[in-house]
């Protein structure tokens, strides 16, 4: 809870720091602000602070789960900010606004993981989404960036409408906005009104849209591709983690008794997402677009964990979002450096990277191995955990499909590795030595080491999960 206040204050502070006209100060302040918030969030680990009316009116709660999710969100943001260092040097860039919007969007994300009332969930989703619409179009002179923002906004607004309508229907059926109120109604009523199911469906559609699950994924490739890579990394990690946390919270508290109603449809959607994400990713020529489809496929795995819905699901979602976020930040971080030099986001821009820039190549390799779920990386254990939780529920067919799809996933992740190690650079004379500045080294080293650390010693994280 403390993190929401801090983030809001720091966001405004960052806006005002913009008057200094010194971009380096903004960068440093953003990093420091996030670090402070990260620490403040951990303070609430053992005992939530009493922060007055918001808690008292049961609008939000802080518990170990929400602290862990918040830590993942803030940690990911903390790793993404250093990657912005080159980007903000651009004349067109407006770092004060970017950093402020990023901090504000995190307020929304934290709300989504700690809400107790559907209205707070709605506010959280909107805060996060509106920030993302703006950031998708941050590259004002670029047509593709404009297109991305427009597409994201129009479709997102539509999804929000459905989402809000769903909340209204739920209110109509149950007379409550709070999770506990809805839970009470669901538990007490033998034959709930059809409005409840309709409302749940609409709310789920809204959420599934935000986390880009098929068939609500059509915006994803264009938006991810068109947005500046920095903000794509943000979208692919923060939005997804917060979205799944929120969805799981909603389903596991209020709607747990209606499991039979939503279980089948969600497992079909998960299977569809896995197939669409993985199979389409195979056909991409652009690395960034591939990452967009890969993020769809990872949404499928996460949704599988939600659908499995047992005591392991929560730890699976937590661990998977952590491992996915780490690897995705690495991948986009390297992409930003490479594409800044080569001016191209195709697979071929990675050709021969291992010879000139072994550090970047290794970071990218480990990220790809983790995304592909190869052992010794965190990605493997995340996948294993999802498989185990799906098995426990008896979702054999989705699980076997998921395993087959991860074999498909290997194909496109390894294309990058092959390009880096086995292909010759296009232009041998051209010096493609990429300058990697200290913040980059720091962020990429941290993501890579954490990926391996959690792959070897998952208990460091599993031990924390309540």
């Amino acid at each position: 809870m403390l993190s929401i206040f801090l983030l809001s204050v720091f966001g405004i502070a960052n806006l005002f720091l913009g008057f200094l006209k010194n971009r380096q100060v903004l960068f440093v302040s953003a990093v420091v602000f996030l670090l402070l918030t990260f620490v403040a969030n951990l303070v609430e680990w053992s005992k939530p602070l009493d922060l007055g009316s918001i808690i008292n009116n049961a609008m939000m709660t802080t518990d170990k789960t929400s602290v862990l999710f918040t830590a993942i969100l803030l940690g990911t943001a903390f790793l993404i900010i250093p990657l912005s260092q080159n980007y903000i040097q651009d004349k067109e860039a407006q770092p004060a606004e970017y950093y402020a919007i990023l901090l504000f969007s995190l307020v929304g994300a934290v709300m989504m993981v700690s809400y107790e009332n559907l209205l707070m969930l709605f506010v959280g989703v909107e805060l996060l989404s509106i920030a993302m619409y703006v950031l998708a179009g941050a590259n004002k002179r670029n047509l593709r960036s404009n297109e991305a923002a427009m597409k994201y906004f129009l479709q997102g607004a539509f999804a929000t409408g459905i989402f809000l309508f769903g909340i209204a229907l739920l209110y109509g059926a149950t007379g409550a906005f709070s999770l506990s109120g809805i839970e009470k109604y669901v538990a007490a009523t033998q034959t709930p009104s059809p409005m409840l199911y309709l409302g749940l469906m609409f709310v789920l559609i809204g959420m599934l849209f935000k986390v880009s699950v098929a068939p609500f994924h059509f915006w994803t490739p264009d938006v991810y591709d068109g947005s500046p890579t920095l903000f794509t990394a943000f979208m692919a990690t923060i939005v997804k983690t917060a979205g799944f946390a929120a969805m799981f919270k909603l389903l596991s508290t209020s709607f747990a008794p209606t499991y039979n109603y939503w279980q089948l449809s969600l497992s079909i959607v998960a299977a569809l997402t896995l197939v669409v994400g993985n199979v389409t990713a195979v056909y991409q020529q652009s690395f960034k677009r591939m990452m967009a489809y890969s993020s769809i496929s990872h949404a499928g795995y996460l949704l599988l964990a939600v659908t499995a819905f047992n005591e392991r699901s929560l730890s699976a979602i937590l661990f998977y979002s952590l491992s996915y976020s780490l690897a995705t930040v690495s991948a986009f971080g390297v992409l930003m450096l490479v594409s800044a030099k080569i001016k191209n986001e195709e697979y071929s821009s990675f050709n021969g990277l291992a010879k000139q820039n072994p550090f970047l190549a290794i970071v990218m390799t480990i990220a790809m191995l983790s995304l592909a779920g190869i052992p010794l990386t965190a990605g493997f254990l995340g996948k294993l955990w999802i498989f185990i939780s799906a098995f426990e529920r008896g979702l054999y067919w989705v699980m076997v499909l998921a395993a087959l799809m991860s074999a498909v996933g290997l194909y496109y992740y390894f294309r990058v590795i092959i390009a880096m190690y086995l292909k010759e650079p296009h232009n041998r004379n051209q010096d493609i030595k990429i300058e990697v500045t200290t913040p980059y080294i720091f962020a990429l080293l941290l993501t890579t080491l954490l990926t391996i650390l959690f792959g070897l010693m998952p208990n460091l994280f599993f031990g924390l999960i309540p």
Partner: protein, 492 residues
Amino acid sequence: MTALLLVLVPLVASLIVFFIRNQRAKIFALIFSLVQLGLGLYVVWQFNPLGGLQFENNLSWIPSAGIGFHLGIDGLSIIPLLLTIFVTPFIILSAFGRNFERPNVFYGLILLMQASLVGVFTAQSAFAYYLFWEGALIPVYFLAAIWGGENRIRVTFKFFIYTVFGSLLMLISLVYLYMQTPANHSDEAQVFYLLGLNSTTQQFIFWGLFVAFAIKMPIFPFHTWQPDTYTESPTPATMLLSGIMLKMGIYSLYRWLMPVVPMAFFENSFLVMMLAIIGLVYGAIIAIQQQDIKRLLAYSSFSHVGLMVAGIFTFQQVALQGAMVQMLAHGINVVGLFFVVDMIERQTNTRNLSDLGGITQSAPFLTVLFAILMLGSVGLPLTNGFVGELLLLNGIVRAYFNDPAFAVGIGAVAGLTLIFGAVYMLRLFQGAMFGEKTAVVAGFREINFSEAMVLVPLCVMVLLMGVLPNLFLKLSEPAVKDLLDFVIPRIR
């Protein structure tokens, strides 16, 4: 002295070697692998065949879910472990003749591979085993893909996707088995053995696991990746693949298949044995017609694996013992033979048998060593190949003894491996060594000291195993007996 140390030494060594950025990397790699050899021989020396699981490390990995990290050495592990540790220094030394680009990465990957292989052979808990199983694939993939021949990208990619596909089936099966264990679950092999699954479930698990192993070995019809990958890989990678890595699949039959799903193992034994025998005859026939000497050895390896697998599926103690000793023998022979082929290729720039001839005139010492390896591979008495093949054939005939006509028939077909083996190996030997000296062989030189240091110990081992097979059979005998005592009552 524990199993974990045997994993950690090459692992740490590989990390050190990665940072030695010049040709000294190979010296360091060799030293580390010799240290590992010393440790390994000490373990074999201390090993008590009757003592069950020894040198254990039972660490907890994810305690809340009962997932452990259990390593240990018993009679089933000791032979493949010995093979891994004995052969690796020679694989490293054999690479000295070529100057590989970025030697630190090259030799580091070999050591990393060794660490994973030791892990596979000592893991007693399922997810640790899976971790090492996949961990062995990554280094060998990069070895083959970076330093391989012309078509390496396509060929190694096929190999990679193929094997990972198998591994995923295995992962699903292991997760299923894990979920069947009593509450809070466990992934210990010993717990899996006692699950007592019903027949249908066993069938599913059997195929999930067996396909993964069959791809790795490979067994007909899962072998299509193998000849290309063996041929395109740089020779040290080929040695790792055929010398040690295929033993991962065979070893896993003993540890992770036979006692876990005994009923299905028995029900499918005839089918698998037929596949294995088809493979062994088919591989041998293709080997006879090969002109490319590296490819010839690839097919011969495919053929030999068939016999080992057929033997394991007989449930006869002699055959299971034979496959054990044959694993060791085949690993040693094939490393030696691939090295000879590599030497020939390096000096003549060709692997085409019809271009070669008369090497013996310039290199008589090489001829002698090559002959020993070749005879070992053919299975001449007093060489290592003989012991294993004799036991395997004996077991196959015994398994069908109540139907004498069939037993003789299948024994004869399986015995073809000896005859065909003699045909293609002698053809290789004669074609390369004897006859008129051809143009490409003109400048051929006798082997030098470091090359002799690879071949002589291997040849000594070929003869030692042939003369004193009991030295090695003794190591695994009680464990194999216990395995069968455990499995046979559970067949029905």
